[in-house]
């Protein structure tokens, strides 16, 4: 009886995991079209994911959560700063029109400013989430705009 239930749960987990992996390989194929994100997005993406999971942690103490969040935000500040630098010089290795170059610069700067905003709200965990959502939206908007290039 128990073994049957266990098998059902394992089957559910396996099916969900397989579906996710399939979805991911599709989205990866789609991302190959993107010319701007490969530079730094892997690290930014990974830190953003870790940060999001931290918002939903239940067992860390508030103090531990502050410390862990601080570490991730420090990484984000570092990475987005590098992204701003890359954006400023991207015309030399990316074939962008002038207006696209300006948009890309603005987006990179906005992302970096938002990470600074996150840093200033560190001691108020609940206030971090709206800023995080703005960051997510900035990333998504940038990907949407430049995916067709």
């Amino acid at each position: 009886m128990y073994v049957n239930k266990l098998l059902i749960v394992l089957l559910l987990a396996f099916t969900s995991m397989t579906m996710s992996l399939a979805e991911d390989s599709l989205s990866k194929a789609d991302q190959n079209k993107t010319i701007l994100t490969p530079v730094h997005s892997d690290k930014v993406k990974s830190v953003m994911r870790r940060l999001k999971l931290l918002f939903y942690e239940r067992e860390y103490t508030d103090l531990e959560q502050q410390d862990l969040t601080e570490k991730q935000i420090e990484l984000l500040v570092e990475e987005t700063k590098a992204l701003v630098g890359t954006a400023a010089h991207s015309s030399s290795f990316l074939n962008l029109k002038d207006e696209d170059q300006l948009t890309f610069n603005a987006m990179a700067n906005q992302l970096h400013n938002l990470t600074q905003e996150l840093k200033s709200k560190l001691h108020h965990q609940a206030d971090l989430i709206p800023t995080y959502i703005k960051m997510q939206d900035t990333c998504n908007t940038c990907h949407r705009i430049f995916r067709d290039h």
Partner: protein, 389 residues
């Protein structure tokens, strides 16, 4: 004495709560005091109620030993707010470093009446009280053996079978390195025994602290840790008059979180050792068995769980968790009615309707097997709502 201590801590907590705005106003640039908490409402439907006098604690938080072998229980609907929490943090710059203190309460304190029968009160229970300064942590918090990052997101207060989740007094040193972090700790000792009649007892006469070391590796794809522990299990002649016996034992534990595509992740813990028992699922097994001559035999345990979290959308996610703990009991010293295997499965769907709130429904299935082959099961549905403030 213990009750007096809890009340004293409560008073300090209330004082901090009352005066914190003043402190903050006066010293905003120097001292940072923050208060917070969460309101958690649990509605639990037990298909197999543990029963007992008034509400049994085991009906509210999954306890492996409470899984009924003879299923005489009836269905039961229950509700409580005992896993609500209140916390306060204080950060104080000191000698160009930061001194932090933390205190946290929930309302899971259970008292016994004069007949020794336990029922659940709503009294505050201290979960954490510690101080951190210059890579040192001193106080009561989660044991160093655990990797909290591997803890799955579930509604039940006690976690899946195989989890290492005790909080105890400790002194810990940690150091951040480029590849991760190392931890070294001495923690409060406590030995638990199963007697020749199968009863569980503890002597409270331990003399040597428990030594725990851990290395945690952090990568872009997640993190994993390897922890090891050394303990002395000491019977101290309490059970059998003047027959004293003690043994050294150890344990290792590997745990981590692997980030999968999208927001999904895999969390796991696998532990093994002959001095692990007290740390597994709230002392699911005892550290050692003791016979009528007072000689002890350490209990070998293997335990662990695997949790897969899938994000359906940005705010909806599910966790699928399977956990188990197995003990190699010495049945030449103890009766065959002692526990041999525990297992549990948790499946849930959790939604965040707002930035600070979440609602989740979870199904829990527990299984218990004794050395004599008898077994029992428990099924539970739990609806939880959390609001953080």
């Amino acid at each position: 004495m213990r009750i007096k201590f809890v009340y004293s801590v409560n008073i300090v907590f209330i004082l901090v709560f009352t005066f914190s705005p003043l402190v903050k106003a006066d010293h905003d640039s120097i001292v940072n005091i923050a208060m917070g908490g969460r309101l958690k409402i649990d509605t639990i439907y037990n298909y197999d109620s543990v029963g007992g006098i008034r509400t049994s604690k085991a009906d509210l938080a999954f306890t492996p030993g409470s899984i009924p072998i003879l299923n005489n229980g009836k269905n039961e609907l229950n509700a409580n707010l005992r896993e609500s929490r209140l916390w306060a943090t204080l950060n104080l710059p000191l000698a160009e470093k930061k001194l932090s203190t933390y205190i946290e309460f929930d309302f899971f304190n259970s008292r016994r009446d004069s007949s020794g029968r336990s029922h659940v009160g709503n009294d505050a229970r201290m979960r954490h009280l510690y101080l951190s300064f210059n890579n040192f942590t001193i106080g009561k918090t989660y044991t160093t053996l655990v990797n909290l990052s591997s803890y799955p997101e579930i509604n039940d207060a006690n976690g899946p079978l195989g989890v290492l989740n005790i909080r105890q007094e400790l002194i810990r040193y940690n150091k951040n390195l480029s590849w991760g972090e190392i931890f070294l700790a001495v923690e409060k000792p406590e030995s638990t025994f199963t007697s020749a009649t199968g009863n569980s007892f503890q002597v409270n006469d331990d003399q040597i602290p428990e030594f725990i070391g851990k290395v945690q590796f952090s990568k872009l794809w997640g993190n994993w840790s390897l922890a090891t522990m050394l303990r002395e299990i000491n019977a101290d002649g309490k059970m059998i008059n003047s027959q004293s016996d003690k043994k050294w034992g150890g344990a290792i534990s590997a745990a981590g979180r692997i980030l999968l595509p999208k927001q999904d992740n895999l969390r796991f813990t696998l532990s093994y050792g002959n001095a692990l028992a007290r740390y597994v699922s709230f002392n699911a097994f005892d550290d050692a068995t003791i016979d009528n001559t007072g000689s002890i035999n350490l209990t070998e345990i293997i335990s662990g769980y695997l949790a897969y979290q899938h994000w359906w959308t940005r705010t909806f996610r599910s966790s699928f968790v399977v956990g188990a703990a197995y003990a190699n009991q010495d049945t030449s010293k103890v009766p065959t009615t002692v526990d041999k295997l525990f297992a549990s499965t948790h499946v849930n769907l959790i939604w965040n309707p707002g930035l600070k709130s979440s609602v989740g429904l979870e199904w829990l299935h527990g299984y218990r097997q004794l050395e004599n082959g008898n077994n029992g099961q428990l099924n539970r549905l739990q609806l939880s709502a959390i609001y953080k403030f």
